[in-house]
């Protein structure tokens, strides 16, 4: 089972905010099994989706080199269940960004109505974890592309968020290269 809890980014402003969407489907086993008779996306997976949105926003500030992990879920408020057929819009904003981590505010909305509000703290693991690779770089880059991060990613100044060279190099070395995907901005 893949651990992807967002479908794609629709907005990504480096080091500032990101918006991702997650479409809830009755074809997802956990949606059906969580509360028998009342299919819904478990709130814990909404937290995970917000954490993936925020984690990638934080990770991009390190050119995706930093080992960013979710360290703490602070305040978390859920207002209503999220049902099959709904399109959840996850908005995350960086509140504080330091060398050792970040505090991120996350919000889940459906058709403009707030479904959940969550505060997340991420740690950027220090040199004690040097050599620990959380993701295989080429596969990670594929994931970032699949999430449309580089399609919508912009810096605060409005320039495209570029694919870091070290990920491009890893992709080339992996033999998984796809010429359509190797331009600097996508």
């Amino acid at each position: 089972m893949r651990w992807f809890w967002i479908d794609r980014f629709v907005e990504f402003t480096a080091a500032t905010r990101a918006v991702a969407v997650k479409c809830v489907s009755l074809s997802e086993p956990h949606v059906v099994d969580y509360v028998p008779g009342l299919p819904q996306l478990p709130n814990s997976l909404i937290v995970e989706g917000l954490a993936q949105t925020g984690g990638l926003l934080v990770s991009q500030t390190t050119d995706f080199r930093g080992r960013v992990v979710l360290a703490k879920v602070g305040q978390a408020t859920f207002h209503a269940p999220s049902l099959p057929g709904e399109r959840l819009v996850y908005t995350v904003e960086i509140q504080s960004l330091q060398g050792e981590g970040a505090v991120v505010a996350g919000r889940c909305e459906v058709d403009g109505a707030v479904r959940a509000e969550v505060e997340l703290t991420f740690a950027i693991l220090d040199d004690r974890f040097a050599g620990v690779e959380l993701f295989e770089p080429a596969a990670f880059l594929r994931l970032l592309r699949s999430l449309h991060l580089f399609h919508v990613g912009r810096t605060v100044a409005g320039d495209p968020v570029l694919v870091p060279e070290h990920l491009v190099a890893a992709e080339r070395a992996s033999g998984l290269i796809d010429d359509r995907n190797v331009s600097a901005s996508t």
Binding site: A71, K72, G74, Q75, Q95, S96, Q98, G99, E100, G101, A102, V103, T121, A123
Partner: protein, 128 residues
């Protein structure tokens, strides 16, 4: 006008309750952040953020967490902070009560030094 000591304490308490999920009654001026309130290293990031927001101040990390001193071979010998290191810590952290720590200055004990009161005093220095 700078807030009163009580106002500072109340805001610091709110930040600690929110960041640590601590019981309000446990957040006393004498409570230590790590030992009594259960703060872990990542919590300090959250606490600093909440204090910056609550008081509209900037908190440089090294002012509250003098890692550079505590990991320096100039100021630490055999896991103990030297007299020179203690002087440096006092200079860096005038708001903290280092009298107890000074008697047996083991680096490993430093993490549990900071009390709620120290935090309040620190915030007060930033509000002057």
């Amino acid at each position: 006008m700078a807030p009163s000591q009580e106002e500072v304490f109340e805001k610091v308490k709110d930040a600690l309750v929110a960041a640590l999920g601590a019981d309000e009654d446990d957040v006393t001026p004498e409570a230590t952040m790590v030992g009594d309130l259960g703060a872990e290293s990542i919590d300090f990031l959250d606490i600093v953020f909440k204090l910056e927001k609550a008081f509209n101040i900037q908190i440089p990390r090294e002012e509250l967490f003098p890692d550079d001193i505590l990991t320096s071979s100039t100021y630490v010998t055999d896991g103990r902070v030297t007299a020179e290191g203690l002087a440096k810590l006092k200079e860096r952290m005038p708001f903290a009560d280092l009298s107890g720590f000074s008697k047996n200055p083991l680096v490993q004990d430093f993490a549990n030094l900071l009390t709620v009161n120290d935090l309040c005093r620190y915030v007060a220095t930033k509000l002057r």
